[in-house]
Amino acid sequence: MPMNEENKEFRPLIVAFCCNWCSYAGADLAGSSRLSYPADVKIIRVPCSGRVNPMFILRAFERGADGVIICGCHPGDCHYSTGNYYARRRMALLFSMLEYIGVENGRTRVEWCSAAEGAKFSKTMNEFCEKIKSLGENVRLGDLRCKN
């Protein structure tokens, strides 16, 4: 039994935030084109990548996620004009801070994926899973809120 435990493949827990207009539709297209990616990826639908509050990502790492990916519309294609630009800048900042507190840069990613890019969505998720697998299990973040 212990031997068996040892050999058990590491299955990461990955949270993907997908905007409703481009990348969620891209994920649907990956599905209808039967382009598989690991079941480790669980998608949360948000209206726009700009809706992704850094708190959500911290929360995921706090609750044991091994990787978090944010997908939005391509630059210039945002359904709401500018949301993805804000997301890109905000995440760049957050990721550098996360690295500082011990979450490697590879565990976080921002990717643009249009509604027509099912193949890209699937490829991105496969790559991201591989990356997280190579990084291994994440050290769970402690509760970051102030306590007194």
Partner: protein
């Protein structure tokens, strides 16, 4: 506590072949809030929906989770179904276990496990859902069109013909815009004023159209369906009600002969009096006094026009007037101009009167123009024998301070038009066109250009001109290269015509700012979606027509004008607008009025208000954000930007998304 019903769809075998639906039902039954769980072959079918309705009634369900295909497919269906049973449609969530689970996984155990997790996340979310109601706002059934060129005219006519009232605001004394300056139009070569002036008259006589010429939009407030617009009617110094448009005043104005006031309409190729109509077919046929140049306004002496006017219409005391009008929709049709050529000294535009722009050529070819349609050099009034056209002057420039990065789109076609028209009138003329690329996509367009080459023997040479050198003998030496033949060319010309780049009307930036309509780096208005919503601004209730949105020719402009009109009609046809209930909300107790949210909002939906709040028993006045629900599109940009957590998004609240994260990471 919610009472949630969970329904797991087989989707035939689409889901059931990879996901053990029975097991999903078993596992989610004990999730918090769930009081009922079942599976069915096709949830979206009539029978499936019936099952849902029955369950809602029987178990008094307050929330639904449907585990099925993508919400982009059937969320609407299931929401409508819930509404039928008396449940608020926004209490329904869909767990996507087909596109994002059964279709991409092969291992049944793994897929089932994932389906359960996705269902759990949806259940957790529904536990926090609140009934949402689509808002309603009334619609003022009147439209404003800014700009009275062909784009504005066509949009206004289409809206007016559908039975709605439209106002046109035009800053010049007459409507007609750029098209009224043109001679002929490509590719059919029909006369521009012959097709435009009837439309101008129609606008003037249409019972549903009100014209505000010599007027400008001064202030805009409100939102889709409910705009308040201040329009400044500049003082014409002529009483439009009394004026008969006889033209006596202009004919007798002493400055007409000696004033040296360049006519804007004729691009400075002739002078006009101080009291003038821009052109003979002006609509309305009421002159204006150019107060900056008028002797009476400068010195208090003269007054000839007032004395001569048979209907006593000249009114020196007239003041600017501001009118405030309510509109449901606004169309921006502010059009274009050509760029200033000061930065292109190499083409000697400022040095030689015989180097002209294409619009000036239109005036010189026009029978109503300064030369009565006879093409002549402005320097010596001789007819030019050798004419050189230079394309892309300022278009496709990388260096921003000199030109524009885009292709102006219409120059290749109008140059072919000019060349053929000149050859038609004066077959002995030699015409050379220097081009970088000839771009003629469009119906009958390339044929048109080929006709210039094949039938009219217009000499097309690939290579941008380097310099135009005015010569001592009064000719122009054009220094160019023929890139295809590998030759440098020094060609004598009597006249050089520059296809200057097109740019949006310089006034558009101010208007866009007033409307909170977004604008790109080149000052063209931005579409809500480049492909799918090309005539709407991202700002609700603002529509785009003509060159204000990007370079286009007349047929394209007219099509777009019609499309914008249809969108306006679609809006005005409604008595009320349903507003997306998934909007941002501000918790005034948390808001510190920092303006961060307003700065990121693409729709100008956030304003600030001073409100009285009770905080820990203290009453104080605070500046807090307010979301205009009619404008908010629910993107949530403000929620993630808000530093104090005061902004939240209904339907995708911080707590809802966090709980989904928790459910997935459990």
């Amino acid at each position: 506590m919610q009472k949630i019903g969970v329904f797991v769809c087989h989707c035939g075998t689409n889901i059931a072949a990879t996901v053990d639906v029975k097991k999903v039902v078993e596992l989610v039954r004990y999730e918090p809030g769930v009081v009922f769980a079942d599976d069915y072959m096709y949830m979206c079918s009539e029978a499936g929906q019936e099952k849902i309705i029955e369950a809602i009634k029987e178990y008094k369900l307050t929330g639904l989770v449907i585990c099925s295909c993508s919400p982009r497919m059937h969320e609407k269906t299931f929401r409508a179904c819930a509404e039928k049973a008396g449940l608020n449609p926004y209490m329904v969530e869909v767990a996507n276990i087909r596109e994002q689970c059964s279709w991409i996984h092969k291992d049944k155990e793994e897929a089932t496990k994932k389906a359960v997790i996705l269902a759990r996340a949806a259940i957790a979310k529904v536990n926090l859902n609140t009934p949402l109601k689509e808002g309603e706002s009334p619609v003022t059934k009147r439209a404003l069109v800014i700009g009275g060129g062909i784009a504005g005219i066509q949009t206004a006519l289409d809206i007016a013909d559908a039975g709605y009232e439209v106002d046109i605001v035009e800053k010049e004394p007459s409507i007609g815009g750029r098209m009224s300056q043109f001679d002929k139009t490509f590719p059919t070569l029909d006369c521009a004023s012959c097709i435009l002036t009837p439309k101008m008259v129609e606008v003037n006589q249409h019972p549903n159209i009100t014209l505000y010429t010599y007027s400008e939009v001064e202030k805009v407030s409100g939102y889709v369906g409910n705009f308040d617009v201040d329009i400044r009617k500049k003082a014409r110094s002529v009483d439009a009600d009394k004026c008969t448009g006889c033209g006596e005043c202009s004919a007798k104005c002493p400055l007409g002969k000696i004033g040296n006031i360049p006519s804007e309409f004729d691009r400075g190729l002739r002078n006009r009096p101080a009291i003038y109509m821009p052109f003979a077919q002006a609509v309305p046929a009421v002159p204006v006094i150019d107060r900056a140049n008028c002797t009476y306004f400068k010195t208090g002496k003269c007054g000839v026009c007032a004395k001569i006017c048979p209907s006593k219409a000249v009114d020196y005391e007239q003041q600017d007037e501001i009118v405030t009008v309510k509109y449901g929709a606004i169309v921006v049709a502010t059009g274009f101009d050509i760029i200033n050529l000061d930065k292109f000294g190499e083409y000697a535009y400022n040095e030689s009167p015989d180097v002209i722009t294409s619009i000036e050529l239109e005036r010189l070819m026009n029978a109503a123009g300064p030369t009565g349609g006879h093409l002549e050099r402005m320097s010596d009034h001789k007819q030019p024998k050798d004419i050189v056209f230079i394309q892309c002057v300022g278009s496709r420039c990388d260096s921003e301070e000199k030109g524009k990065p885009y292709c102006s789109k219409v120059c290749c076609m109008y140059t072919a038009k000019h060349a053929m028209l000149i050859k038609d009138h004066w077959p002995d003329t030699n015409i050379t066109v220097f081009y970088i690329d000839v771009r003629t996509p469009g119906k009958n367009f390339d044929e048109f250009y080929r006709r210039a080459v094949e039938q009219y023997h217009v000499n097309y040479i690939k290579g941008q001109v380097g310099k135009v050198k005015p010569q001592p003998d009064g000719t122009l030496l054009v220094q160019a290269a023929d890139l295809l033949d590998g030759k440098q060319i020094n060609m004598k010309a009597d006249m050089v015509v520059l296809a200057a780049a097109i740019e949006p009307n310089p006034g558009v930036r101010k208007i866009a700012t007033m409307l909170t309509a977004s604008i790109d780096n080149n000052n063209f208005l931005t579409e809500a979606h480049a492909k799918l919503r090309p005539v709407e601004s991202p700002t609700a209730g603002i529509f785009l027509s003509g060159m204000a949105q990007g370079p286009k020719d007349i047929p394209e402009t007219v099509s777009q004008a019609g499309a914008a009109a249809v969108k306006v009609i679609g809006l005005l046809a409604k008595d009320h607008l349903k507003t997306n209930p998934c909007t941002a909300q501000c918790d005034t107790l948390l808001c510190n009025g920092c303006s961060t949210c307003a700065n990121v909002c693409p729709y100008g939906a956030i304003t600030y208000d001073d409100v009285q709040v009770m905080d820990h028993g203290l009453r104080e006045t605070r500046r807090v954000a307010q979301v205009n629900l009619a404008l908010c599109q629910g993107c949530g940009a403000c929620t993630s930007a808000c530093p104090s957590g005061a902004m939240d998004l209904q339907g995708f609240s911080n707590r809802q998304i966090t709980t989904e994260v928790d459910a997935i990471c459990r």
